[in-house]
């Protein structure tokens, strides 16, 4: 947790919790798009389960964040009534399931993009949740312990498919490589701490993701080698999603996700 002085009950700052929660919610929402449209039944189930786990994690984090925020905040107000600049998720997670210049028809969803993205993110979160289990913020540590078990299944699932695609047919290999080339630069965002991550580390409650980079590289490199895929450069524009500066895609994701709640803000069931 760094060399900073910590207190025994160091609480994670609100923005740090929202970063973790927004990551889970936005990827959960994206992966849920495959529900009913999976390439095969087993993968339809797999992504629905993956999505359910992520949204569950988001709920636990939002509930905790709402507690800290007070002032009538709830998991619902945080999920449904914040706008694009308030969201703290990595840009990687809001991208649609397709290569950058594909047509916009829903039928162009690309499963290789889904799998590669899930793998790159799950590899990070497996390492991050493992470290956060030791956070002096007991509530966050408890959420980390649960999320870790779930993300390991996500990692295994996405890694298996990554290898099957990479070490598969010419077409699956080409699509997997293409997805990897497209998505790898978005992972740069993981490594340089934002202000809220720095604050969380100084409070002792958070983990500097930059410390995980070596282990993440090991995980990724071994999977790519097995998948016979070439590791692309991750250089280029560093996305700023966790700073609230998002791609053109997040607005559409939120519009779809939030429209019902915003149309009926007092609704309960």
């Amino acid at each position: 947790m760094g060399a900073q002085a910590t207190t025994a009950t160091a609480a994670a700052p609100l923005d740090y919790l929202l970063h973790l929660a927004d990551n889970a919610l936005i990827l959960g929402q994206r992966n849920a798009e495959w529900c009913g449209h999976g390439p095969i039944l087993e993968e339809d189930l797999a992504l629905a389960n993956n999505s359910l786990d992520l949204i569950g994690q988001a709920r636990l984090l939002y509930q905790y964040a709402a507690q800290i925020k007070g002032n009538g905040a709830t998991e619902d107000t945080l999920a449904y009534f914040r706008d694009v600049p308030d969201f703290r998720n990595y840009t990687l997670l809001e991208l649609p399931h397709r290569a950058p210049l594909a047509a916009t028809v829903a039928g162009d969803r690309d499963y290789a993009t889904t799998i590669v993205r899930n793998f790159l993110y799950s590899a990070l979160m497996a390492l991050l949740w493992e470290r956060l289990q030791g956070s002096p913020d007991a509530h966050l540590a408890a959420i980390a312990a649960k999320s870790l078990k779930e993300v390991r299944y996500h990692l295994r699932h996405s890694r298996d498919w990554l290898v099957r695609f990479g070490d598969g047919t010419d077409e699956s290999h080409a699509r997997a490589q293409s997805a990897l080339d497209h998505l790898m630069p978005y992972t740069q965002e993981f490594w340089t701490a934002s202000a809220h991550e720095t604050a969380a580390c100084q409070a002792g409650a958070g983990v500097d993701a930059g410390e995980l980079r070596t282990d993440w590289n090991t995980l990724v490199d071994s999977a790519l080698a097995e998948a016979t895929l070439k590791r692309p450069s991750d250089k280029g524009y560093v996305t700023q999603g966790k700073h609230g500066v998002h791609s053109e895609h997040l607005g559409f994701v939120l519009a779809e996700m939030q429209s019902l709640a915003r149309a009926h803000p007092q609704a309960t069931w």
Partner: protein, 178 residues
């Protein structure tokens, strides 16, 4: 670690007895206590009773139903109670009693084959995610054969995988180690 508290005397005992009958909404043959979901009954800070439950998977949609069931069961007896969700210690299939596992099997769901730490002991991300690791060998709950195969690591609910038996050819759910 014992999965359940010993039942104390007095009003707590009455509450435990009432909740003893509550089963998992999805798996009506095992009780919440046997699954380790129902953790404790204690006095609340402002008087009254607190019932402590712990969620299984983060997104488990049955937790809402379970909370409602606890409330309505106790309300019927005129007992007012607060349901408290406790995240730590983290729920694990290791808390499932042997009796619960037998009931699952009899119901047609294969119980977890190993501890949450897997056969290797230490939780290892690298080993856990290795492609070479075979899925658990799970005996068929219908015919007992070990000649089974995993159809999908994800099944009808967050906690289950889908298997089929290559001898009797029946599909079945497998409760995953967690």
């Amino acid at each position: 670690m014992t999965p359940t508290a010993t039942v104390p005397a007095g009003k707590h005992a009455e509450v435990w007895a009432a909740l003893e009958a509550l089963t998992d909404p999805e798996i009506p043959v095992v009780t919440l206590r046997e699954l380790g979901i129902l953790r404790d009954v204690r006095d609340g800070p402002g008087g009254g009773i607190e019932v402590v439950i712990t969620p299984t998977y983060s997104g488990c949609p049955a937790m809402g139903q379970i909370e409602d069931d606890v409330h309505s069961t106790l309300a019927e007896l005129g007992i007012e109670a607060r349901v408290v969700t406790q995240l730590a210690p983290s729920w694990t299939t290791d808390w499932m009693s042997e009796a619960a596992k037998d009931k699952l099997r009899a119901y047609g769901i294969a119980p977890p084959q190993c501890g949450s730490h897997g056969s290797g002991g230490e939780i290892s991300v690298m080993r856990f995610s290795a492609r070479a690791a075979a899925p658990d060998i799970v005996p068929c709950p219908q015919c007992g054969s070990k000649n089974t195969t995993e159809t999908s690591h994800f099944g009808s609910t967050a906690c289950k995988a889908l298997y089929r038996c290559l001898d009797c050819l029946e599909p079945f759910d497998y409760f995953k180690p967690y």
